[in-house]
Symmetry: C2
Subunit: 333 residues, 2 copies
């Protein structure tokens, strides 16, 4: 072998090594993310807590990751999807309740005046929740939600609501779980609502879904078997200060990773940040009116104002949907 051939061999060998060291595109984590600072901050954090022997190493049992749902894992415009479900239930029940024709907020709702329904505030909302989310068994409620996710369509995207999850965030859930994290939802949404589909669309089992929850009462069903009735009584509003309460009550361990998108997530992010050792706090900023929606400081749904200022001040990761995400939703099923 002469000198030139030898150099050639070394060159070829190093190319081969480089090719072997670089994982194929198919196995690169977070493929729907553009390779900016948001993606890099996630990869750096996961690498730092999983590298054995590193001072930043975190044992798997403590790798707790929490995610808000509405606006963080799936869309929340033009109305929170669970609110759409409640409106649809009232419409379906209306033939059995002729008195609703003259009783607000039902009368407004049945006339299609959603603005008036929203303006009815907590009192109006409580009435709608009482008829759509209580007075039935947990099994009957779950069956009704399952049916709704099959039949209802989002007004703009004309797809089932459960197909409006964010592909980049599902990739993030997968990446965390592949690295020994336990992923939880911590949402202002109702726990009995989300648990119906969270395992199917996010790979998150019911016992890792935390949300607002109402009272339950054990009763005997018609066949003598026990049933749990849903009561029109709220036990936990899992939003704002309720999020750290929900985390402590249901998980009992402080997360090291938290993702939200609105001021309702501020306390959850602060609670996560207040622990010792490495921490990751992230926010999704809705900046893409074309592919999804653009809203922040002045939005009635998913307002992002104070949490955004805090994220900037404390150097938390802020995802710019338009710039950071190659694709928003998965392909229609």
């Amino acid at each position: 072998m002469n000198a030139k051939t030898a150099r050639m061999h070394v060159l070829l060998a190093s190319f081969a090594l480089a090719a072997a060291a670089r994982p194929s595109l198919a196995t690169e984590p977070l493929p729907s993310w553009n390779d900016g600072e948001a993606r890099q901050s996630i990869l750096r954090f996961v690498e730092s807590v999983t590298r054995e022997g590193a001072p930043t190493f975190v044992p798997p049992a403590e790798r707790i990751a929490v995610f808000d749902n509405d606006g963080t894992l799936w869309a929340e415009q033009p109305l929170y999807f669970q609110f759409v479900y409640a409106l649809d239930q009232v419409k379906a029940l209306a033939p059995k309740h002729p008195e609703w024709k003259t009783q607000p907020p039902f009368s407004d709702l049945l006339k299609g005046n959603t603005k008036a329904v929203l303006a009815s505030g907590e009192t109006g909302l409580a009435k709608i929740l009482a008829v759509s989310h209580a007075g039935m068994t947990t099994d009957a409620f779950a069956a009704s939600v399952a049916e709704w996710t099959r039949t209802a369509r989002h007004p703009r995207f004309q797809r089932p609501y459960t197909e409006l999850t964010y592909l980049p965030m599902r990739e993030l859930l997968d990446h965390l779980r592949a690295n020994g994290f336990k992923t939880f939802i911590v949402s202002g949404g109702g726990v009995e609502f989300m648990r119906v589909f969270a395992e199917r669309i996010y790979g998150i089992p019911p016992e890792q879904v935390i949300g607002s929850n109402g009272g339950l009462e054990l009763k005997k069903g018609p066949d003598g078997k026990p049933v749990l009735m849903k009561l029109a009584k709220i036990d936990l509003v899992d939003d704002h200060a309720g999020k750290p309460v929900g985390i402590q009550r249901f998980i009992g361990r402080r997360p090291i990773f938290a993702f939200g998108n609105s001021d309702g997530d501020k306390e959850m992010l602060e609670w996560t940040a207040a622990g010792d050792g490495p921490r990751f706090m992230g926010l999704v900023h809705h900046t893409d009116a074309e592919r999804e929606y653009a809203y922040d400081r002045k939005s009635h749904v998913g307002q992002l104002d104070k949490a955004w200022d805090e994220a900037v001040a404390r150097k938390w990761t802020v995802v710019d949907m338009k710039k950071d995400w190659k694709q928003i939703f998965g392909r229609p099923e």
Copy 2:
């Protein structure tokens, strides 16, 4: 090879096969259980739900197993251990509360009159819980419980309370987890109390511990960081009908395996039994006054009366501690 030698070879080969097929004693499941009907009923059930292709097969995600704690996983005599913790806290706080010398139930407690304390009923107990389980951060409470488990000793066995877990039940937890089950505690005891040691003594992480729980309030700590204060307000009494409620609220999926030891577990066992497909319901019957305690229908702690009758009628597994368990506690640490 003549006929005799050939028979000899076949014989030797079949001995060798039999030896290979039989696992060594060290890997037999549930080694501290005598091989009676209780042990066999557990092994049969686990085998039936894990055999791929069997009509009784249950996917791993649905293999939810729930265990009562007091009297099922660890001892509960002469008093519930958490109650002993509360009494010890009051004694430790007494120097700062001279007024307690004349105020029942504190005055009775400080005189060592535990019977009078118990006789003070719910009102008295609430006062003791208010000073021992509220008015502090969740972190301060956890540190106090951790210290108590290191220093307090059981009056009869002279060992830390956390060493009074039942070895056969810990083997059962291991056997279930080795077969893809997710194991949960569902106890009348306080969730913040049990989570301090459940991972260490049972291998059950905080997020799989369900118990009675009190109110929590998010506050700013002295360093400006958020803290959670424990309030003197009960959110869930996770006993009797509260157990199915706790299971639905925290797990959101019906267990297929449940173990208890008292009438407080009856509704949990019934809730488990009411599901479709294969089910296992078990009770620990305390029959061993020599090695542990013997009590059932008339006990003030861990009364087993109605649940026992139901177990017999419905052919649930009833463990006779004296006959079924070779050993009760593990070796002192």
